[in-house]
Symmetry: C2
Subunit: 416 residues, 2 copies
């Protein structure tokens, strides 16, 4: 069934356009990554006829004209999207950036931005008549797929590196997924999952391979735009791993611009961990020829030495005249503490990486002090409690006795 | 400043009414627990003039006429409330209850229902001109207070039993709270916190002591009502610890009924852990004279041997002609697996306890098969990963090699 608003899927490598069938993966001509294209006139008409402010749906599906799905019948059961955008005044003052906003995408059904992509994957798998979905992931894509598929009654096969934090693995098991921990890197995990998907013919929710995922992810940008009254901020910061999320963020803004709903585009701030930054390294050198790197960072979600979607990520950075920042694990942990103590937002390491990059960009003079900045928190800190405790420290412990409490306070210089 | 919609705070013990000042605690006459009372005519007028369906606020604050706060200026920064209500068809079929709904309150800023109470506490502390708030808690009230206070720039002193799961403690530390782990029971923790609050004069966010907290919690019922088009379900199930949550749930429905927004009240299903069920034991015996119990359950949030709010809990059960169910830890873990695999909802043990009770009530014939039931999930499973893994098991682990994968699948009887 043809989608009313979609014109096709264009290959980012050879430029050929193919029909946007629900089970397309990479380009059949050259193996390149596909990009879903829309009829922007139809989108604009629909948005004018039925204003967003009048819509009751509080999930990502409130933007139906921007999404490549067949109809209203095929919605997943979990409420993906609709996450809050916080005006982070106190945190902004702390880092010298008065106009700072935090988009807390840890507030999603399985506690990460990836729910937006997985909700889309579940719908497209159903449209394709499939009942089993598989993916490899550093963890969040996996748990979001498992949760969204469980709600829809689909089976899942999930491959994650054995380094994945316990919280993410616990989610997978609880959602009833068949979980394979792979003793190796994200690249090893991706490879064995691809072999298994080929062998058993499961629906493929692998990052980059499935062009619809990015269409789910882009809804974070549609929400940011609506939450800001369609007045764009100067910058939007996001952490970067395999490149799909920053690609999706950019796609959202480009689609809004294409449909005439915003009149300028923000610049992206692409933040990677210093210990694993192949995309930023290439972007800084002005080349598409990225080089694989080791995966040396505690931010497991973005520890991707061989990114699967460098093309879209590098284009997004280049097209948006993006700012490139790498941050150390110490800077990531400091950003976790700042987000918690001054914004009440508990982020996992990769979730705080964008904000760490914003802070550093201000310090380095890469962005102006009076700029307006939205920093996307991509995942909840509860997913990785071990690193949270590493970042925040252990509490005092006493027997239930006032003298013990007084002594503990005095030892720490706490006045009460 | 008098609140336009509030008539006063009535003592549940001696019946006297006092002004609802922001820093009231228990009854100054007899020490009884206070209950906030409203002018229902004013509430009804306001709701008629400004229909809920036209409101843009997606948090608990969309129900301003039902809430005891001064004005629009005093809102906390985090988006508490607005959690999804899922029609859980697959899970319902699994437990023989076709009309089952899950209210996922794990989708809150700090991932539990307690955010509704803590957001209220932060506002009332600000109205009282205080900058430091304290509480004792089994964990969720604490982390929600720490998060909501951090967002508002207030300091917090938090007392939790040392048994509290790591996820909850990590949240506290990350939100910059001063955290005291107490080596003892919840009762020990409550007692030392009360002494410290007296000594240092902090604003008191302790359960039951502060009558405004329940007014925050009741918003879960306002949302359920609105999400169901103000048509009440037959039953609403919730897990019970110190009694404040079930009391708040009931208060919400009673206020809606008082203001004429619903025309009948649901029956409550009060679910406790068999290893710690002082409230249900008293309710079953038809007495208000509850007896303290040991705290023997993995559901830490409701492991409360000396409940702080038995009066309101027992009245709620009695007034609603409630159903009383106790469940074992095994039944709780089974409910966690069912919620995950058939609804895509990952609950902490106490969060799944309500659903465990629903399942058992169906099996025991305590509720009819064609009844409509809303089960409230009070907290996210990511808060207690250790017990999640205990309930769901560990995944298989392989080297990145197809032969290893085939062997692992064969050993487990997985066909792919």
């Amino acid at each position: 069934m043809a989608l009313w608003n979609v014109t096709g899927a264009r290959c980012t490598a050879c430029g050929k356009v193919i029909p946007a069938e629900p089970d397309i993966t990479t380009c059949p001509h050259c193996g390149g990554i596909l990009d879903i294209e829309y009829d922007y006139d139809l989108i604009r008409e629909s948005a004018e006829k039925n204003p967003f402010s009048a819509r009751q749906d509080r999930s990502m599906w409130r933007y139906m004209e921007f999404l490549p799905v067949e109809g209203k019948g095929s919605r997943p059961l979990l409420r993906a999207g609709g996450s809050p955008l916080y005006r982070a005044e106190a945190l902004g003052r702390k880092i010298g950036l008065p106009n700072l906003w935090i988009k807390d995408d840890g507030q999603n059904p399985t506690a990460s931005l990836k729910d937006r992509a997985s909700a889309m994957a579940v719908i497209k798998a159903q449209e394709a008549g499939r009942t089993t979905i598989a993916c490899s992931s550093t963890g969040n894509a996996a748990s979001s797929l498992a949760g969204n598929a469980a709600a829809a009654g689909l089976s899942t096969y999930i491959f994650v590196p054995s380094r994945a934090p316990k919280g993410k693995v616990a989610q997978l098991m609880m959602f009833g997924a068949t979980v394979v921990l792979v003793e190796g890197s994200y690249e090893d995990t991706f490879r064995i999952s691809a072999e298994a998907i080929d062998r058993w013919g499961w629906y493929n929710r692998n990052a980059a391979i499935n062009p619809f995922l990015m269409e789910g992810k882009k809804t974070v940008s549609l929400e940011i735009a609506e939450q800001l009254g369609f007045v764009m901020p100067d910058y939007v910061a996001v952490s970067v791993g395999d490149g799909c999320t920053i690609g999706g963020v950019w796609k959202g803004f480009k689609d809004l611009y294409g449909a005439g709903l915003i009149d300028r585009l923000p610049r992206l701030i692409s933040v990677q961990a210093s210990g694993c930054c192949p995309i930023n390294t290439a972007a800084a050198a002005g080349t598409m020829d990225w080089v694989p790197q080791e995966e040396n960072t505690l931010a497991d979600s973005i520890a991707v030495g061989v990114p699967r979607n460098p093309v879209k990520a590098l284009r997004a950075i280049s097209e948006s005249n993006g700012v490139i920042v790498n941050v150390s694990d110490e800077e990531i942990m400091a950003a976790m503490r700042l987000l918690g103590a001054h914004a009440g937002v508990f982020a996992e390491p990769a979730g705080a990486t964008g904000t760490a990059g914003v802070k550093k960009a201000v310090e380095m003079g890469l962005i102006e002090e009076n700029a307006s900045v939205v920093s996307i928190v991509t995942g909840n800190g509860l997913k990785d409690v071990a690193n949270a405790i590493r970042a925040a420290g252990e509490p005092m412990s006493i027997k239930p006795d006032m003298d013990e409490l007084l002594a503990a306070f005095e030892a720490r210089g706490i006045k009460g």
